[in-house]
């Protein structure tokens, strides 16, 4: 037990753990994480399965990495506590030094005489030190006065506050890992989705994609309504970087897309023999649409938003963006198919209609529309509050540790034939040069007192 405690109080162990964490984290950035077994086999050959068994392929969520983090947390906790008690003691029950020899063995020190009787010198010391915002403790013995003065004592605890912050952040991480969840909700406009486990549902009222003049996407916005049993609780427009928070459930704009299974297509029908002839129709996928004035029905058999031919020369889509929309359209006269073929919106010249029967009809695909859907990520993460508290403590602690240096002064006044012999010393762990200057200023102003 004692050996175990010694293990955890050792700074060497902390340093070793830190170095192991650095190495492990580094490895994880060079091995692609959470890929398929076949990808690792291609990349690392025989080593692939071994890396997977050792969980190097999901390193940051591996059993051993988490164990390492927990060990590190335990080490931080114990190291901090072990050092905290002596610090508390020193902070709240400081010993007032009564031996001039000890004061004069400090690094920052001075010894001098002032031409005042001890009682007056004592008041001068008090005045000077409180003017410089030192907190004073004093005691006296026969013909002698002892002072212990200190300021910015919180600086001593800066590192402890930092460590507490780190522990709280790690705790937040554990809470997030165990209790947090996220899920993608895919909505089309006016669709309502119930949130399982919560007594409300969410409706997408409107989804907008904004573009820059050069055509690149500027923003996605979704107007969301939170409903409870049909009643509107709240309504808000969310966009990237501006989520909606409802009772700890946070809704993020995370993606978008089009439902290309249900497109509507605007098609212009022309006749080669009749330049003036033009009919504009909207076709729906899978429905026959009659062309007014002609005994002709058009129907869309296939639609591809980003047309490309694959290795086997089969039409397929390169992406879900409407970069090269193409539709396979058939023309029917009663029960007789008269033509069929691919029509391209971007490349009208490539459109080819194969006809079984003589026809002078040509088609142009002018516009494609599909119901757009918005992907909203819903997340609930009860660990987040701990993370922000931990971050606050981390920063506050760093400030205290680096920029709030504790200063201690120990002063003894001794009567020497109606005058006063002064022994003064100071301790500062941080920014000693600045303290040296302050110390000298204090001494000089005391010397001048008459």
């Amino acid at each position: 037990m004692k050996a175990l405690l010694n293990f955890f109080t050792s700074v060497r162990v902390a340093i070793t753990l830190l170095i192991i964490l650095i190495c492990a984290s580094t490895i994880g950035t060079f091995i692609p994480q959470e890929r398929s077994a076949s990808e690792y086999l291609v990349r690392y050959g025989q080593l692939g399965p071994l890396l997977q068994r050792l969980q190097f392929t999901k390193l940051y969520h591996s059993f051993w990495f988490i164990a390492l983090l927990l060990l590190f947390a335990l080490n931080i906790l114990i190291c901090t506590l072990v050092r905290l008690f002596p610090k508390f003691h020193r902070a709240f029950k400081p010993k007032i030094e009564t031996e001039p020899r000890n004061i004069l063995s400090l690094k920052i020190k001075d010894k001098f005489k002032v031409g005042l009787p001890p009682a007056e010198a004592r008041d001068e010391v008090k005045k000077e030190l409180s003017r410089r915002r030192y907190r004073l403790r004093a005691s006296e013995a026969e013909k002698r006065h002892f002072f212990y003065a200190r300021k910015k004592v919180l600086g001593w605890f800066g590192s402890d506050v930092v460590h507490l912050g780190i522990l709280i952040i790690l705790a937040g991480g554990i809470v997030s890992g165990l209790a947090g969840f996220r899920r993608d909700l895919t909505f089309v406009e006016n669709q309502t989705l119930p949130i399982s486990g919560a007594n409300f549902s969410v409706r997408l009222d409107k989804f907008i994609t904004e573009y820059y003049p050069d055509g690149s996407v500027k923003d996605w916005k979704s107007l969301l309504t939170i409903l409870d049993a049909g009643k509107t609780l709240s309504q808000r427009m969310i966009e990237v970087n501006h989520p909606l928070n409802h009772r700890g459930y946070i809704f993020y704009q995370s993606g978008y897309g089009w439902d290309w299974e249900h497109p509507s297509l605007e098609v212009w029908v022309k006749k080669k023999g009749d330049q003036a002839y033009l009919k504009k129709v909207w076709l729906k996928f899978g429905e026959k649409t009659a062309l007014g004035g002609e005994s002709l029905d058009l129907s869309v058999l296939q639609f591809i938003p980003d047309f490309v031919l694959d290795e086997k020369n089969q039409p397929t889509t390169r992406s879900l963006e409407p970069n090269n929309p193409a539709a396979f359209i058939e023309g029917w006269q009663g029960t007789e198919k008269i033509f069929s073929g691919w029509v391209f919106a971007k490349f009208p010249d490539f459109s080819r209609l194969h006809s079984a029967k003589e026809t002078d009809i040509s088609l142009e695909l002018k516009d494609v529309q599909a119901p757009s859907y918005s992907v909203i990520q819903m997340a609930k993460d009860p660990g987040v509050l701990l993370i922000w508290i931990g971050c606050g403590l981390l920063m506050g602690g760093l400030f205290l540790a680096f920029y709030w240096p504790t200063r201690e002064l120990k002063i003894i006044l001794e009567d020497s034939h109606g005058k006063t012999e002064v022994a003064a010393g100071g301790i500062a762990l941080k920014s000693r040069e600045a303290f040296q200057t302050e110390f000298e200023n204090i001494i000089n102003s005391l010397r001048k007192r008459k």
Partner: protein, 272 residues
């Protein structure tokens, strides 16, 4: 004058300042360093103007692509160098830091870096872009300064071991102490900008404050290395060579976080 002209002007002024600093290093007269300091300060003013113009023209924070962020890192490094030199009255590290700045400016103005301001993708449209990137790069600028003084420490210490006292009065011990103080400024800034602001922004934009993305991991590694520096120094009393080595590794880790991750590892931080 256009932003790029003013940027080039700042670049020239930095190069001129470096020339004066090196004149000081080799002539051992104080004057040229003072002139160099003033020129660097004027360069910084022009550079600031260039960054402001860039912001006004593009309508967003001036660190959304490699050209912009290199330029900002150079700016922050000059700022860090002026602060440290003003505070600790050490002139020699400035000469070498200016070399780093010149390298950054040269890289930024090389034809490899696309310079046109592109509209911001939705994920970057946030005031956290300002906070996250500027504070992180400022922290890294101080790490760069500590990198310089640590290398200077190693060379000064080797000379002192052979019994040669430094002619400039800048002892190895002083360099060691300046490295520590510079890291004491850089570390809280890097923690705030890189880790804390980064987590807050990630939570606002992606819905998760930490995703073990390579850039995040490398920031954490950098942070761990400087934590190692501070603990070995404060708790275990390490000083001198071992401290200097850790500070050098720390800066290299920061550099890798900044550059290497973008070019070698893929991840969420694919913007700049």
């Amino acid at each position: 004058m256009s932003e790029s002209t003013i940027f080039m002007l700042a670049f020239i002024l930095y190069a001129l300042a470096a020339a004066f600093y090196f004149a000081f290093l080799y002539s051992k007269k104080e004057n040229p360093a003072g002139v160099g300091f003033t020129i660097a300060l004027i360069g910084l003013l022009f550079h600031t103007l260039a960054l402001v113009l860039r912001t006004v023209e593009s309508g967003h924070a001036p660190f959304t692509n490699m050209y912009e962020s290199l330029s900002f890192l150079a700016w922050a490094s000059i700022l860090a160098f002026l602060i440290i030199e003003g505070k600790y009255k050490v002139r020699r590290p400035g000469a070498y830091l200016l070399l780093i700045v010149i390298a950054l400016m040269a890289l930024a103005s090389s034809p490899l870096m696309p310079k046109e301001a592109t509209p911001l993708v939705p994920a970057l449209q946030s005031y956290w872009l300002w906070l996250h990137v500027s504070v992180t790069l400022l922290g890294e600028a101080f790490f760069a300064f500590a990198f310089i003084t640590s290398i200077m420490y190693l060379s000064a210490e080797a000379k002192e071991k052979k019994g040669k006292a430094p002619k400039s009065g800048l002892t190895a011990e002083k360099l060691d102490s300046i490295s520590y103080r510079t890291i004491a400024i850089g570390f809280p800034l890097f923690t705030l900008g890189g880790l804390v602001f980064g987590m807050v922004w990630a939570f606002k934009a992606w819905g998760t404050y930490w995703s073990w993305d390579p850039k995040e991991v490398w920031s954490l590694i950098t942070w761990f290395v400087f934590a190692l520096y501070l603990h070995t120094r404060i708790v275990m009393g390490w000083k001198g060579r071992r401290s200097a080595a850790i500070a050098i590794i720390g800066f290299l880790a920061a550099l890798f976080t900044y550059f290497g991750v973008n070019y070698l590892l893929a991840g969420l931080h694919s913007y700049a």
